[in-house]
C-alpha cells in the first residue's frame, strides 16, 4: 500500500472528461473521476494491505465522485480487470464502462445506511460486487434491492459486456470476508465524507 506522499507523487492530474453515454447524463459528472490521491486517515491500517485498493466515494450537492486513492495503481487494476474478464478488445472502451460501473455502485452505496463495507472483486471470469451489511441477520428488503441493482446493471446498455454478479453478506470479520475476495483484484468503496464512513482494512 502506498503512503500519502508516494500516492501524491504518482497520481496524474487528468482533466479530460470521459465520454458519456445515455444514462450517464443522470450522473453527469459522475464518470469524471477526480484523479487525486486520497490521503490516509488517522487510525487507517490500510498500509498493511497490499491487495485492496480503496476508492473513496462522496456526494456533494447532486454530484457523486469516486476517488481512487492512487491513480497509477487504479490504472493497473483496470488492466488486471481487462485481463481477467477477457471480454473487451478495446481497453479504452472497457475502462470507460468500468469507471461508469464504479460510479453506479458508488451511488448505490452512498444511498444506503445499512452497508458496512463494499468491494468490487473478481470471480468466475467477471466481477463480483460484494456488500457487507451492518447486521448479521437476513434482510428481505436489502436482498430485493440488491437483486434489482443486479438486474439494472446487467441490462444497462452503457454497461453491456460487463459481467458482474452481486453478493450480500452479513457482518463478518475481515478474515471471513477474505475468502470471498480475489487475491489479485479488490477495490474497496468507502465513504469519502466524514471518516465515520471510513473503514480500516487489512488482510
Amino acid at each position: 500500500m502506498l503512503g500519502m506522499a508516494e500516492g501524491a507523487a504518482l497520481a496524474p492530474q487528468l482533466t479530460a472528461p470521459l465520454p458519456l453515454r445515455r444514462k450517464t447524463r443522470h450522473f453527469l459528472s459522475l464518470a469524471h473521476l477526480p484523479m487525486k490521491p486520497v490521503p490516509a486517515t488517522a487510525g487507517d491500517t490500510r498500509s498493511g494491505n497490499a491487495n485492496i485498493l480503496h476508492l473513496r466515494i462522496s456526494r456533494e450537492a447532486q454530484t457523486v465522485t469516486v476517488h481512487p486513492e492512487n491513480e497509477d495503481r487504479f490504472s493497473l487494476r483496470v488492466k488486471d480487470a481487462i485481463r481477467a474478464c477477457q471480454a473487451f478488445a478495446d481497453a479504452k472502451d472497457f475502462e470507460e464502462r468500468f469507471r461508469f460501473l464504479l460510479t453506479r455502485l458508488g451511488v448505490w452505496v452512498l444511498g444506503r445506511k445499512d452497508i458496512h463495507s463494499a468491494f468490487v472483486t473478481q470471480r468466475d471470469g467477471g466481477f463480483l460486487f460484494l456488500v457487507v451489511r451492518k447486521t448479521a441477520g437476513y434482510d428481505r428488503e436489502f436482498e430485493d434491492q440488491l437483486a434489482e441493482l443486479d438486474v439494472e446493471i446487467a441490462t444497462d446498455q452503457d454497461l453491456r459486456g460487463v459481467n458482474m454478479a452481486t453478493l450480500g453478506l452479513p457482518l463478518v470479520s475481515e478474515e471471513a470476508l477474505s475468502s470471498f475476495l480475489s487475491s489479485s483484484f479488490v477495490l474497496s468503496l468507502v465513504h469519502g465524507a466524514h471518516n465515520g464512513g471510513q473503514r480500516s482494512r487489512s488482510r
Binding site: 448479521a136 441477520g137 470479520s173
Partner: protein, 187 residues
C-alpha cells in the same frame, strides 16, 4: 459450429422432485440442518428453472455463474432471478461462511432463524420461483408441469427427529411434519 445441446425438461423436473424429497427429509430432521435446507432449496429452484428454460429450448447453463448471468439478462427470467438470487446467496452463506470470532455473524442461525428458513426461503422465495417456472412449463409442456412437486406440500414446521446415526428418516414421525408430498396440482 458445434451443436447446441438442449437439456431435457423432464430430466430437470425429475431432479427437482428428487431434491424436493430430500428437502422434505431435511425439514423433518430438524433445525440443525437449516444450512442444508437452504442449500437444497436453492438446488430445487435451480432444477425448476432449468426445466422451464429447457421447455423453451434454451441452452442449458453450464455453471452457476453462467446461469445467474442468463437469468438476470433475459427479460422472461428476471422475476425468477429476483427470488432465485436470495436463495443462491443464502446457500452460499450456508456453505461457506462460518465466523465464530466475528463481530456479528457467527453461524447460519445468526443469518436466518430456523423457522425463517422455511417461511422466507421455502414459502416465499422457492414458492415464487416455482410459480413463475410452472407458468412457463404449462405454456410449453402442461403435462410435465403437473408432475412437479411444489414446496407448498413441504412440512410447514421443522421436525425434531433425532439423527443419531447420521441417516435421516423419512417416516414423517417428526413433530409438525406433514404427509409426504404428492404430485402437485398445477392449478
Amino acid at each position: 459450429m458445434g451443436r447446441i445441446t438442449v437439456a431435457n425438461a423432464r430430466d430437470h423436473v425429475e431432479l427437482a422432485n428428487a431434491t424436493h424429497r430430500s428437502l422434505h427429509c431435511l425439514i423433518e430432521a430438524g433445525q440443525e440442518h437449516c444450512p442444508w435446507i437452504a442449500t437444497m432449496a436453492m438446488y430445487k429452484a435451480l432444477h425448476v428453472i432449468e426445466a422451464a428454460r429447457a421447455s423453451r429450448g434454451d441452452r442449458r447453463a453450464s455453471n452457476h455463474s453462467e446461469r445467474l448471468s442468463l437469468l438476470r439478462t433475459e427479460n422472461a427470467f428476471q422475476q425468477i432471478y429476483k427470488h432465485y438470487k436470495p436463495l443462491y446467496d443464502a446457500s452460499t452463506i450456508a456453505r461457506y461462511l462460518s465466523d465464530h470470532a466475528g463481530p456479528g455473524f457467527k453461524s447460519f442461525t445468526d443469518y436466518m432463524k430456523p423457522q425463517e428458513v422455511l417461511s422466507e426461503l421455502i414459502r416465499h422465495r422457492l414458492h415464487q420461483v416455482e410459480q413463475s417456472a410452472v407458468r412457463m412449463l404449462k405454456s410449453q409442456q402442461a403435462a410435465l408441469a403437473s408432475q412437479l412437486l411444489l414446496c407448498a406440500n413441504l412440512p410447514s414446521k421443522l421436525g425434531t427427529a433425532a439423527v443419531s446415526t447420521g441417516v435421516v428418516g423419512t417416516s414423517g414421525a417428526a413433530t409438525g411434519a406433514s404427509a409426504p408430498s404428492s404430485p402437485a396440482d398445477p392449478s
